[in-house]
């Protein structure tokens, strides 16, 4: 659709749809019907509560798939999918030791589409961990954590932690052998935290062993606590993306917009001339930041496009593709359900979920305090501290050799540990070759 930069008078339409669109009822719901004019497209994004999350106009570069690989958007689509399938599952699930496993079997045998929904929930969760991790990698490689986006990177790390906590708490709920022993091993790590380990572990499990209290706690954390935390962090994350001038995507030098704002707060000449600073006047504070000074945002209006339809249509296509992929996985592969949890029998081998299996591999070589507490703690701390430690303003790969080499070394180390733990370990954590016998269940 070629854009004409002037508002055209609306073309009169005929027919049932046109009459419907002209009706008072329709106009009271859809208050800004889209038209092909620039103002119509702007209003469409601006006047709709759901599309309002998008800016009206975006830099053209953002339309390139490779500017973000759409990984953040894919993560939020998966979250929505997990939220909906999770709601459905909640109707058929009782967080009680005597009921949970039976509910899983009932879901499989009697509930309409029950097993499919569970499969979609399971594969969606795995994909979401993957998408969130890849999003972090993409943002790192593009230097997206640099000023002024330091704090949004920290929020993002928080979202990663919440995603992992979602997966871990959800893992226990089916109450099968896979669930029970993965969580036994995972929560066993907590007790090695110096000083507070035992108290913390008992607090998390509601007792010394994984039983009714633990199941209920994990359930409440999974469906309520983490959902509230995720929604809040997500809101801040998205809000900051817009406030910080959308995506970078380029490899230029980071602008420190916070410094600029400070300059301007100190500056307004008109006020200082008469010796009165009127910055407490909110209308003036709004004028402090000029839109055109936000970095990453093109100053050339010709290099901007309307979000609707250019970006929103692309997002819709990606959302559909993600749903199709998860649905296909759900149809093709059953979510595993082993025997009912048996505290007296540890299956061989007992593996953590795949995203923690690298940690479990580390456990085979180091003291649990090092492998289970200090190493993951240091990793999260390093991610949080990264934008404040790495003060190099350049986003060009050539200027960031040390950061990139360090990052890829740690990341590839984790990938290698995960592959060894997932595919090359068998009973008693002994080394096995995956083509001889594969001990891996997602």
């Amino acid at each position: 659709m070629p854009a004409t930069e002037t508002d055209r008078p609306p073309v009169p339409r005929r027919g049932l749809m046109a009459r419907l669109r002209g009706s008072t009822l329709y106009r009271s719901v859809v208050r800004t019907p889209g038209s092909d004019s620039p103002s119509g497209r702007a209003l469409h994004a601006f006047g709709n509560v759901f599309l309002h999350i998008y800016p009206v106009r975006i830099p053209r570069g953002l339309l390139r798939f490779r500017s973000t690989w759409r990984l953040g958007f894919i993560s939020s689509v998966l979250f929505a999918l997990l939220f909906i399938t999770g709601l459905y599952l909640m109707f058929f699930y009782t967080p009680a030791v005597s009921m949970a496993y039976g509910d899983m079997q009932q879901l499989r045998a009697q509930v309409g589409f029950g097993q499919l929904i569970r499969n979609v929930h399971r594969w969606g969760a795995h994909l979401m961990v993957l998408a969130v991790v890849l999003h972090l990698v993409r943002v790192f490689v593009h230097g997206g954590y640099k000023a002024p986006r330091q704090f949004n990177w920290v929020i993002g790390v928080g979202l990663l932690v919440v995603t992992l906590a979602y997966s871990f708490t959800g893992y226990l709920l089916p109450w099968d052998q896979l669930a029970y022993w993965a969580v036994t091993v995972g929560s066993g790590l907590v007790k090695y935290a110096p000083g507070v380990g035992n108290v913390l572990r008992d607090f998390l499990l509601g007792g010394e062993t994984i039983g009714q209290a633990a199941l209920l706690r994990f359930y409440v954390i999974h469906v309520a606590v983490l959902t509230v935390a995720f929604a809040l962090l997500m809101a801040v994350h998205l809000w900051r993306i817009r406030k910080d001038g959308l995506v970078v995507g380029d490899t230029g030098v980071a602008h420190d917009v916070t410094a600029r704002v400070d300059d301007r707060i100190a500056l307004p000449a008109a006020e200082q001339a008469d010796g009165v600073a009127r910055l407490d006047d909110s209308r003036r504070v709004l004028g402090v930041v000029h839109v055109d000074e936000v970095p990453g945002r093109s100053r050339d209006p010709d290099d901007e496009v309307f979000s609707w339809p250019a970006l929103i249509i692309r997002h819709q296509v990606i959302a559909l593709a993600v749903c199709a992929l998860v649905l296909a996985l759900g149809i093709a592969f059953e979510a595993p359900l082993r025997d009912i949890a048996n505290p007296n029998l540890t299956p061989e081998p007992s593996k953590a979920p795949w995203y923690f299996v690298g940690l479990q591999e580390l456990l085979a070589h180091f003291d649990p305090l090092v492998a289970g507490v200090l190493a993951p703690g240091a990793l999260v701390a390093a991610l949080v501290a990264l934008p404040y430690v790495d003060r190099n303003p350049s986003r060009r790969p050539a200027d960031r050799k040390v950061a990139l080499v360090l990052f890829w070394a740690v990341f590839l180390g984790l990938v290698v540990l995960t592959i060894i733990g997932a595919f090359f370990r068998g009973p008693g954590w002994a080394f096995v070759l995956p083509w001889e016998h594969l001990y891996f269940e997602p």
Partner: protein
């Protein structure tokens, strides 16, 4: 040093708010603390001591523990691995406890032989009253520290799990 009323109020709000958050945190912690003695256990009567011959390991389901006799002594060994809490089975062919999760191996007395466990297997106190063996599952004694082995660490036959790589 100048201190305005505003500074004082600001400090007051900060301290007050901090106290309020601390109080809320502490209250939540106490409210959600695990209920006392959940599954605490008690004294469990067993058979007479002679029913447990040398080299045997008998699983006591109610107490999730093994009664073993080695070197003439009886031991009540908690099934839970001190490493990360997996249930450790007794391997009849090797006469040892072999953890399936991370490959820790203990002898029949629960003493550490190899693997990542930080100590030997935890134990419950045993006593003999009126010719019957009693085990107190309410009391859990930490296993012996690494390298303090009293009993034989050799396997009497092949292992149930394959040897760990390291």
């Amino acid at each position: 040093m100048d201190q305005t009323r505003r500074d004082l109020l600001e400090a007051g709000w900060t301290v007050g708010g901090g106290l309020l958050i601390a109080a809320a945190g502490w209250t939540s912690f106490v409210a959600l603390k695990p209920l006392a003695s959940a599954g605490g256990g008690g004294v469990l009567p067993l058979l007479e001591p002679d029913a447990y011959p040398e080299g045997s390991a008998t699983f006591v389901r109610q107490g999730r523990l093994f009664i073993t006799r080695t070197g003439g002594e009886l031991h009540a060994i908690s099934q839970k691995c001190p490493h990360l809490g997996c249930a450790v089975p007794f391997c009849e062919s090797s006469g040892q406890f072999e953890c399936p999760c991370h490959g820790s191996v203990f002898n029949a007395a629960g003493e550490w032989i190899s693997g990542p466990s930080p100590r030997g297997m935890d134990r419950h106190p045993l006593q003999v009253t009126d010719g019957r063996l009693l085990v107190n599952t309410a009391v859990l004694e930490e296993g012996a520290p690494l390298g303090s082995r009293k009993f034989d660490g050799r396997a009497r036959g092949p292992r149930c799990t394959t040897e760990p790589a390291d």
